[in-house]
Symmetry: C2
Subunit: 362 residues, 2 copies
Amino acid sequence: MSDRRLQHDVRIVGAGLLGTSIGLALTEKGVDVALDDLSPTAVRLAVDYGAGRPARDDDRPGLVIVAVPPDVTARTVAAELAAHPRALVTDVASVKVEPLDELRALGADVDRYLGSHPMAGRERGGPVAARADLFLGRPWVIAMHDAVARPVVEAVEHLALDLGAVPVSMTAAEHDRAVAMVSHVPQLVSSVLAVQLTKTSDAALGIAGQGLRDMTRIAASDVNLWLQILCANTAPIAEVLVSLREDLSAAIDALENPGKPGSRRTIADLMGAGNAGVARIPGKHGSTRRYAQLVVMIDDRPGQLARLLTEIGELGVNMEDLRLEHSPGAPVGFAEVSVVPEVEAHLIEQLELRGWRIAGAS
Amino acid sequence: MSDRRLQHDVRIVGAGLLGTSIGLALTEKGVDVALDDLSPTAVRLAVDYGAGRPARDDDRPGLVIVAVPPDVTARTVAAELAAHPRALVTDVASVKVEPLDELRALGADVDRYLGSHPMAGRERGGPVAARADLFLGRPWVIAMHDAVARPVVEAVEHLALDLGAVPVSMTAAEHDRAVAMVSHVPQLVSSVLAVQLTKTSDAALGIAGQGLRDMTRIAASDVNLWLQILCANTAPIAEVLVSLREDLSAAIDALENPGKPGSRRTIADLMGAGNAGVARIPGKHGSTRRYAQLVVMIDDRPGQLARLLTEIGELGVNMEDLRLEHSPGAPVGFAEVSVVPEVEAHLIEQLELRGWRIAGAS
């Protein structure tokens, strides 16, 4: 418990996945955590899981964490600022401008408020899915604003660090533009692509490969949760989508007029810019390092992939990424293993010596 | 060699990745394979790899396989039909209508021709990347047309089966519409999304998660190869993209007018249809079965993932899919393991007993 940075007593409003997970992690570190929720059942469940104790009227928390749905975040933060006039308040909603604007409109004491957003994977599940280690290694955006006082910045940074997250500072507007680009637009594009699959034949879907599967995986996301998120960040999302639609229209014009001078160049330029765009995404551990990929054939039975990875480990090679590919109708699969380029040739040689079939390398 | 179906001597025109891979596989089965290419160097290299022997003027092949770039496929097929008046001819180009139309316009003897398309992963690399097992378990589309004679259908089916592929029959037009939907449109959508990343900040890219990475992976594809493919299938691709643009525009209108009655419903309907579309993609082995996913935390050092998979194997559980998630700046990762729902609870319990931390389940 000596390794904790946060020195405040904490009150958490909202015993869902995020609130309960934060409560679990802070309780493990010896913080006094008071839990509150509109639903007494949710509070009892979170207490049973070890996420803290039920809130009391005489609590005097140093830090209040609001973890309620986006559309009630601002009014809940305002109520907490009023009810606890000495407390610092943060929230964990996945949009940041709208709640801040609402708080200002309500005349709330925003110098004690600082919004934040843990980028913690799947946002589903409720208290039952909560985990103390949900935030380990994830970015935790701290959405700075002009009026904020230093103690609340420090408290939220300490909270993120105590939970094993990586604090990342940006303004609320920068945050909302960033998540529009890296999260909200990809979600909508995946959905819009998947909608086209409702209009195609079973035969066409039968020859689908990994590309389509990757492109539509997140189209299976929860509609109600995403509706709230998207509707709270409409302008930044629309801005990126309009730009995307312009590029899409250029491609459509070129494809509808393939004989027109410049049509091929339009497609080539667009794909070239796509190459450049994807190259900007940082790789593992935030680096922009490129890895070598090799594709190893594996039988589809228990233990085969484990044997492959064990042997890669025995060779002293650290795998940077792993992806499985499936083959409809066949009892074989392919494991795409990413490694630093320096070890690629050695690894291929050694795996082939051990009887593995390398189906490709790049 | 007794297990082979194809009884013809084979001539392969084009010693690239596909031609050389086919040659390797057929030679292994004892077929006489004659290799030809505009480049004598490519032929010599393919022969060195064991893909067959150099073609001779007095060859009388029973089956000619044309494996040249899409834009020279038709004229090459026509030349082969004329040069070998008793031979059956197929090709492996990734578009099928345009070559067939061209052949008809050239007055070629199309009753001896049947186009095909092996859906064989990455289409890059040349003869050096060739593998006899490149087609194992992959769909091999046989693009039927009205004039085709039975012997050529049988020969191409035997070829696909001898190479370990799964023959799938459809018409040339059905094929081109199918690959437009499952391959060409996802490629362009990924590129168009990735283009937007050239216009965003490093800070935004720093909080990107797995969703964006999945959506833009194929945007890194080779521009020249894809330019040829896309430009040979313009109408079916444009048709799907126009439909996609309509859905995208509906989303943009809703996001630009969030207060307008019906706007939220538009977004919800679109995401719901996306849910329905992605559910239509067959899963592993062509089934539409849904799997349970659990997310297991792993340290980022050699052997950790292997140990996890070994233990899953020891528990007798067959993993249906595996996906790794990264965490910028942190020495931990997450393995998302898919299993049949019946074993999920047992697997979670046993893994936790063995000290693994389960970061989530669904």
